[in-house]
């Protein structure tokens, strides 16, 4: 980047302040300088103001917020001084946005081609025919299937990974100077994430586009960014080159963020809790939604005090397995044994006591808690329902459970809306514990949480297992989590287990090819990891080519 540094920066933000209408500061005096072709990573936990800064760079504030101060200078002109028409002219044409969830960012009512071409046509850069030709070229560059006809699809007809790439095409449609990428790969599976990451990096290099790359995942940003800015509570913590931030963080907060990622390598599930008494056995289970077969012959066993992880990409059937075990979706074939007795297939046929012993914790705590109930009601309900307790008895028990999940007792009469994401997940866990279960099914318990908060939840789960001898079935796509708390791990692909062994053994290798794909797709905290992954992919493809040539 040496030759670009002498030139005038394409984007300069000075003293940016964004406030809510009632005056709460979301972003506090932030400076950003971006050279042409340079990628700056904005990193921080949720609420750190990263997205707000990204949008403010386009001179846009979400409803209820406003840009209260500062200068947003794109290629020498202050966008904040422009009128509405002038700002519209900049948006999309000079600086374009790539959102986190492509599925939500595409309008369901129009074809992808219509939406990709809309920018350049409306900005008067191309006519429709030119725009379509350019869109097809972008589709091809982004490795989309059947690029000539891909645009005719409606958003619901394309997969998540395809949509994310189509959105990159939409952002590039006006050949902007700057891209704002707001968590562009967070909603994707690890294996899809790496593909999109490779393409984004290529796109940025090929067209010499500058980019603000917003993410909470240090390992991801390490692959694409030249420099990293760490944010917390709307303020800058530090900024430096990517390798400086990763290897020599100046601030304690940054060091903590870096350390979370590193913890996985050293930490292991403690074998002490596992007993040899089997609590749950699933034998050759099959299940389907209508005519679509989702689980195809799965066998699994869990011991008292053990954590069994089920990993796989979305659509592999892992959440369905949880539904089958809880009885929400009765299996079409196969048997489930719980504590030596056959478990009735449907939830309706299970006794209250059986229901009590298997509890479920959901992925997104925000929607798993009734916002109108107090925590006392939420946690107290299973206490009343399963144990017939009432009055002060319930209150005492709720207080005890709150202590157990490390929340203050006086939170009892708050509502869940007053809690943070991590606290909400603690409440979900407390609610499951209220039933005094023997087995808890954890469906992606940490994936909706920030890394540092997720870390705390994992610690809590481990402690509870040690104290109460709980068995967990952990459903996740995050191999880091698996590493740290699972005793045994099952790898799921298309409704079947391709491997089910000790976690150690699974990660040591030799791998099943699919396990290898999963393991190798998890970004590592090294700057050149993506290039290595790319190299590996090229080698593998070349090998496959020679293999198939040999066969022919």
């Amino acid at each position: 980047m040496a030759e670009t540094e002498t030139k005038q920066p394409i984007l300069t933000i000075r003293g940016l302040v964004v406030e809510t209408i009632i005056g709460v500061r979301l972003v506090d005096r932030i400076d950003v300088t971006l050279q042409r072709g340079e990628v700056l990573g904005l990193i921080g936990e949720s609420g750190a103001g990263k997205s707000t800064i990204g949008l403010a760079a386009m001179c846009y504030a979400r409803a209820g917020c406003r840009i209260a101060g500062g200068v947003v200078d794109i290629d020498g002109s202050d966008v904040r001084m422009l009128d509405a028409a002038g700002r519209r002219d900049v948006r999309g044409r000079r600086i374009a946005y790539i959102a986190q969830s492509a599925a939500a960012a595409f309008n369901p009512a129009h074809t992808i081609m219509d939406q990709v071409c809309e920018g350049p046509v409306q900005h008067g850069l191309m006519n429709r025919t030119e725009a379509e030709a350019w869109a097809r070229e972008l589709f091809r560059a982004l490795d989309l299937p059947d690029p000539d006809n891909f645009g005719n699809k409606y958003p619901h007809q394309a997969s998540g990974g395809q949509l994310q790439r189509a959105m990159s095409a939409m952002a590039m449609s006006c050949r902007p100077d700057i891209l704002v990428l707001d968590e562009p790969t967070t909603a994707l599976d690890v294996t899809t994430q790496i593909e999109v990451l490779i393409l984004l990096k290529r796109l940025i290099r090929e067209y010499n586009t500058a980019a603000l790359y917003i993410t909470h995942d240090l390992a991801v940003v390490a692959q694409v960014a030249d420099r990293i800015k760490v944010l917390r509570h709307g303020k800058e913590v530090e900024e430096g080159t990517t390798s400086d931030v990763l290897h020599a963080p100046k601030q304690e907060y940054t060091a903590k963020l870096v350390a979370v990622r590193g913890a996985a390598a050293s930490e292991r599930a403690s074998p002490a809790t596992v007993t040899d008494k089997t609590i749950l056995t699933v034998a050759d289970c099959h299940a389907s939604y209508g005519i679509v077969k989702v689980i195809d012959g799965v066998s699994l066993d869990v011991k008292h005090g053990e954590t069994v992880a089920v990993v796989g990409e979305s659509g592999s059937g892992k959440s369905t397995l949880a539904r089958v075990i809880t009885g929400l979706l009765p299996p079409t074939a196969g048997a489930i044994t719980f504590k030596g007795a056959t478990l009735p297939k449907a939830l309706k046929q299970r006794s209250k006591d059986l229901k009590r012993q298997i509890q479920l914790v959901y992925q997104i705590p925000d929607v798993a808690l009734n916002p109108r109930q107090t925590l006392h009601d939420i946690i107290g309900r299973p206490v009343q329902f399963y144990y017939g307790r009432s009055g002060n008895d319930v209150t005492d028990r709720v207080a005890e459970l709150l202590r157990l999940v490390e929340l203050p007792e006086n939170y009892m009469f708050r509502k869940s809306t007053q809690l943070s994401g991590g606290q909400k997940q603690r409440i979900c866990i407390a609610r499951a514990l209220a039933a005094e279960p023997d087995l808890i099914i954890l469906d992606e318990p940490t994936s909706a949480l920030d890394p540092l908060v997720a870390e705390e939840i994992l610690k809590l789960l481990k402690r509870l297992q040690e104290e109460l001898g709980l068995a967990y079935i952990l459903i996740t796509h995050d191999l880091d989590v698996v590493h740290r708390i699972a005793h045994r791990t099952a790898v799921m692909l298309k409704g079947q287990f391709v491997a089910f062994e000790d976690t150690e053994t699974i990660f040591r290798g030799p791998y099943h090819p699919y396990t290898e794909k999963l393991v190798k797709a998890v970004p590592e905290m090294r700057i050149d990891w993506l290039d290595e992954a790319l190299e590996r992919k090229r080698v593998r493809e070349a090998a496959e080519k020679t293999d198939s040539a040999k066969v022919a």
């Binding site: 948006r91 959102a99 009512a109 007809q157």
Partner: protein, 315 residues
């Protein structure tokens, strides 16, 4: 998708069938039957028996229902009791009149209120948004006869632009009909505009917080284009439903307006029949109104299916 539409259509037919049962039952449980109503003072037991036999009232209710229903679907609604005329011949020109007035009002009301609703959504919180909201709310809060008379005073008496009586006759040329029916059509427009305007505005605005709307703004599109091209197609389903309900009201709920302007529609005919206890006519009008109501709502449901791209284009 065809299956979905087929199901909706079948459901419409089933609803209509259920409504016909309901109409029949309701007219049956009215105290006193037709025979005693017609005979009045001369209702000796013998005369009643003879008259009932003549009308087929001595048969069980289920038989009478099926006779009536089967006749109705073949276009035979029976004869009026009071004057012995064939109901279908009486009702046809009146129904045409009612449909004409409803169509005329819809032609003004739908584009006006949907258009204003879109403009109100584009200029949310501005003058035109508030004005259109307050004005339509006012017109819907005032009884319809009052609006009718105010319009007559303004545009028939003070400014003699339109006739105060909307009496149409069969041979009237179409342009004349439009001219004569203008005031009742305007009255009806004022009655239904508020619903449609508010629904259009609300459903468009509720879409405006979607991520794809933010995306459209970030592409640099002006607000008018974002609303019309990105929000409106996704807000269409609830708007269509409300339009259908209001169109049905234009047909069914015009009794008062017809009375104010002495417009010869089905509404007046039905009111007359009710006051004279002419049960077959009441049944016929009821069935007709139910048919229009169910038909329009079924059409709206089908249209709502058609505007959904997820249903139109399979994965």
């Amino acid at each position: 998708m065809l299956r979905l539409i087929g199901t909706r259509a079948l459901l419409g037919v089933a609803t209509l069938f259920a409504v016909s049962v309901l109409i029949f039952v309701c007219t049956q449980i009215l105290p006193g039957d037709v025979a005693s109503a017609v005979l009045g003072n001369q209702a000796t037991p013998e005369a009643l028996a003879v008259f009932r036999k003549e009308l087929g009232l001595d048969q069980p209710a289920t038989v009478r229902y099926f006779n009536w229903f089967l006749g109705a679907i073949q276009g035979d609604l029976g004869k009026a009791l009071t004057n012995g005329r064939v109901i279908i011949d009486e009702i046809k020109p009146r129904f045409y009149n009612t449909m004409f007035l409803a169509g005329y009002s819809a032609l003004i009301a739908v584009p006006l209120s949907v258009g204003l609703g879109i403009i109100a959504a584009i200029r949310e919180g501005r003058m035109i948004d508030r004005m259109s909201n307050v004005l339509t709310l006012m017109t819907i809060s005032v009884p319809e006869f009052f609006i009718g008379y105010v319009l007559i005073i303004l545009f028939a008496v003070n400014l003699p632009w339109f006739p105060s009586l909307a009496t149409v006759y069969d041979e009237m040329p179409i342009s004349e009909r439009f001219y004569v029916a203008t005031l009742p059509a305007l009255t009806l427009t004022m009655l239904v505009a508020a619903h449609m305007l508010r629904m259009t505005r609300t459903s468009v605005l509720s879409i405006m917080s979607s991520p794809y709307i933010e995306m459209a703004f970030l592409k640099g599109l002006p607000r008018s284009r974002v609303v019309v091209r990105h929000a409106l197609p996704n807000a269409a389903a609830p708007i269509i439903t409300v339009i259908a309900l209001n169109l049905a009201y234009l047909v069914v709920g015009v009794v008062v307006v017809e009375a104010v302007f002495t417009y010869p529609g089905v509404g007046q005919y039905m009111v007359d029949a009710v006051s004279k206890r002419d049960v077959p006519v009441v049944q016929a009008c009821g069935l007709l109104f139910a048919g229009v109501f169910v038909g329009l709502n079924t059409l709206a449901d089908i249209a709502a299916i058609l505007v959904n791209p997820r249903l139109r284009h399979k994965r």
